[in-house]
Amino acid sequence: MTQYIIPGGIHVDLNNKLLSTKEPICRLPLPDKLWIPLRQNYGVPPKCIVKPGDRVLRFQTLAVPNDVISSPIHAPTSGIVEAVEDHPIPHVSGLPDRCIVIKVDHQDDAIDIKPMDWENADPLAIRQWIRDAGIVGLGGAVFPADVKIHPPTEILVINGAECEPYISCDDILMRAHADEIIQGALVLQRASRSTKILIGIEDDKSQAIQAMRLAAENYSASQDIRVEVIPTRYPSGYAKQLIYLLTGIAVPSNARSYDYGVQCFNVATTYSVYKAVIKGEPQTSRLVTVTGHVDSPRNYEAVIGTPIDYLLSFSRIKENAASVVMGGPMMGFPIQALSTPIVKASSCLLVLSEDFFANKKDDFACIRCGACAGVCPASLSPYLMLAYIKGERLDRAEKNHLFDCIECGCCSYVCPSNIPLVQYFKYAKGAIYGERVEKKAAKMAKINFEKKQTRLAFIEKEKAEKLAKAKALAAEKSAQKSSSPEMTSAEKAAIAEALERVKRKRAAKTEEEES
């Protein structure tokens, strides 16, 4: 057990995890059609490089990164690209988004893949390799893994906590692929030039702990690898919470972990790194826990793009199921269409029965009981922020550390008044961001306007100056005209001579005409 304790947190009944760990991992047969959303990573979605009609092979790149915080997507199997169209994707908003639709030909032809000679490779080359394999954080945040590799990072934390109730995919993965996870961790260790690997697992996963300890022993002669057991308490599996639990380093909300010499990767991400670097396979599948109100809850290895109803048909939904939640019961969100595909972030499908909603409670007024503050892992005062947000004082909410909120949902969980606190905080964050964008736009507009004004003023000034010059010139000319009486005698003589000539010519002309 570790000596550090995070503030707050909640303790949920543990038996819910046992539902889905009785059966081993089931490799899901390929469906006939895949919908692969472009938006699968935190940050900017990648750019699609295939077009309808193309035949794609397994592991072929379908989309390339558009930005630094962006991740490529690869074909999970061979088939024909049928369309690139809008389709429901797993997102809180429930709005459809761009998906690459692949008609699976069940040939499963793959492109040539080769492993990386990582032991002799440059850390930055490993990082690039991981980026090209499209590896994102599989714990749920889907942050591109390569961006998190920031050598030198002294301590590498491997997150096997899996604190969220009901989900067991990491537990099962650690039981089945402990050695691969350790190898993946060693790759990450080389890439981020770490000296120490700490693997944190909650104490309710005894089999996983045993498997990981056994696997780590094989390497402990040459490497500093330790499997640490942490108490089961949501949200111990949040990156910064786990880092604190294992190392005592408290990374504030506005800083990156690597600035504190530590970085955290999920076990599933680490396993993907193993597959990408040591096997050469980019990320095209993941483990998904199907649990809750189903006949046979278990963990599936499903390819990215598998429709949810296809996956659920293997576990068979029970009679009075009412809703499907993607992710766990704390962070997950309801799926509004069962044709929604599995993405890299989909760790769990939780089917809820009607009974779950039978005693659906309305929200009452906040009675200031302070339970939310007691469970907040960020040591915030949710009741206070709620009051400010309800009173439309977002600035005050921000001053009370709104942006330190990690949206874990503990406050909403304990609230006896059933107030959706996290929703309020998400809303407020969005509103403040929106305000900032607007302010920035307004500021830019102001700057542009001022620039234009100065430019116009400059042009006006130039015009005025030109005009003034022209006027001055004209004035000078007219002045010259008016000054003709003061002409020199020579000039006068010349003019008189010219006049004389004209006269003579005219006289000669008239003489000719007369004659």
Binding site: A250, S323, P329, I367, S412, P416, S417, P420
Partner: protein
């Protein structure tokens, strides 16, 4: 399968609800009410019924005026909790009109600020203070409760229908012993409307009072609820100077007055050991076997509140911090007073077991709405309440002071919470 739209994330929620908490509070008050009934008869039930009905009607009315859902507001049980706390904080024979008045006032206080959760002041305590200021005479009738010969008399007092009968019976039973003689005479005098010298013998007082000093704070502590006897002083020449204890000879002087008499009765309480032994000896008799109830009952009611508090602690409706700090503060501060002069100030344990201390510790200061939220804030809040209770009891003109202390500390809650905000997780570099 139809996908049902889930409004809230997380979908997982605790089963704890506000109404559940409120129901536990009501349940935890039941032992106290039971002891009340044991000693005083079902008069408290009449009081509870009046206040509950009034509170629910007033709540409905105000909620309707505010254009909210009446059903939702009533289903949280908070109005009932307020009503019960009011009934248990005032004398059980409080006339019905006064009870209705202050209960409506409590609900008004709550809804003026925006209803449940928004009120800065504890509604029940605001009601008690309102009574204290508006109808002070009503708060000094504990002797009537104690000396009434039957619960019917007490119920009659609520509806003010049988005061003549009460006076007669009080007079009839007088003479059993020194105390009851004295008190019933007082009662008689009071009901006769006499407020001058009462023919109470020197002996009867001192005998029962033993050697214990009869100081104002000591005596006044014995009224259960925080009502003032000092404010009652209609007899101006005998006005007690706050902080200056009344000497026994003063009390037995030629001009004793009503509240001197009224508070004289429970003087024997000042020895808690004797009090408890006596209580166990002959006071465990239920009301229907007793000719008269006794102030000892109040100690038993306090102990019943402690039981209720333990239930709430066990169900995690309240937490140990505030009650413990509050009681410890009272123990320490009243201990200091007692140590300073034990002839003037009573034993600290008397402070704990009488007055509104226990009700306050477990049911009043733990009200989540009007107390501080942060752990440090709660600490300061409880210390402040305990300190003010002791100061008001020992030095102030009011006998109990729980209600006043809570209201004063309520005002400081926003400041306390603001001063003691925790630092967010993470060490800023």
């Amino acid at each position: 399968m139809q996908t049902q739209i889930i409004q809230y994330i997380p979908v997982l929620r605790t089963s704890k609800t506000v109404s559940g908490k409120m129901r536990w509070v009501l349940l935890a008050l039941v032992p106290g009410i039971a002891v009340y009934i044991w000693f005083f008869g079902p008069v408290i039930l009449v009081s509870l019924a009046i206040s509950t009905l009034t509170a629910m009607l007033a709540e409905s009315l105000f909620i309707k005026m505010r254009g909210r859902s009446v059903k939702a507001a009533l289903s949280d049980w908070s109005a009932v909790v307020t009503a019960w706390l009011i009934s248990l904080s005032v004398i059980p024979i409080l006339p019905w009109w006064a009870l209705v008045f202050i209960t409506v006032f409590a609900m008004l206080i709550k809804h003026l600020y925006g209803g449940l959760g928004q009120n800065p002041f504890n509604p029940a305590m605001a009601a008690v203070c309102f009574l204290l200021l508006a109808f002070p005479a009503q708060m000094n009738r504990w002797y009537e409760v104690l000396t009434a010969d039957s619960w019917q008399t007490r119920v009659g007092a609520i509806f003010e229908i049988s005061s003549a009968h009460h006076a007669q019976t009080a007079g009839a039973v007088a003479g059993q012993d020194g105390i009851s003689e004295a008190t019933s005479k007082v009662a008689q005098q009071e009901s006769d409307g006499l407020s001058q010298a009462t023919p109470v013998s020197h002996e009867s007082i001192t005998e029962k009072a033993g050697t214990t000093a009869s100081s104002t704070p000591a005596t006044d502590n014995l009224s259960v609820d925080g009502m003032s006897q000092a404010t009652l002083h209609t007899n101006t020449e005998q006005r007690q100077v706050p902080g200056e204890p009344r000497q026994p000879d003063t009390m037995n002087s030629a001009t004793p007055h009503i509240d001197a008499m009224a508070s004289a009765t429970p003087l024997s309480l000042l020895n808690p050991v004797q009090m408890v032994t006596e209580a166990s000896k002959d006071l465990l008799q239920p009301f229907y076997l007793q000719k008269m109830a006794s102030m000892h009952a109040i100690v038993w009611i306090s102990l019943a509140y402690v039981l209720g508090g333990i239930i709430l602690l066990a169900k995690r409706v309240i937490f140990w911090r505030m009650p413990m700090v509050f009681l410890s503060t009272i123990l320490v501060i009243s201990g200091l007073f007692w140590w300073y002069d034990s002839s003037l100030y009573v034993l600290p344990v008397v402070h704990l077991l009488t007055g509104g201390t226990m009700l306050g510790a477990f049911f009043i200061i733990t009200d989540p709405v009007t107390s501080a939220i942060t752990p440090k804030g709660q600490l300061l809040f409880a210390v402040g309440c305990g300190l003010l209770v002791c100061l008001i009891r020992a030095l102030g003109p009011y006998p109990d002071g729980v209600a006043l202390s809570v209201l004063i500390m309520n005002m400081l809650v926003p400041l306390l919470d603001r001063m003691t905000q925790p630092k967010p997780f993470g060490e800023r570099k």
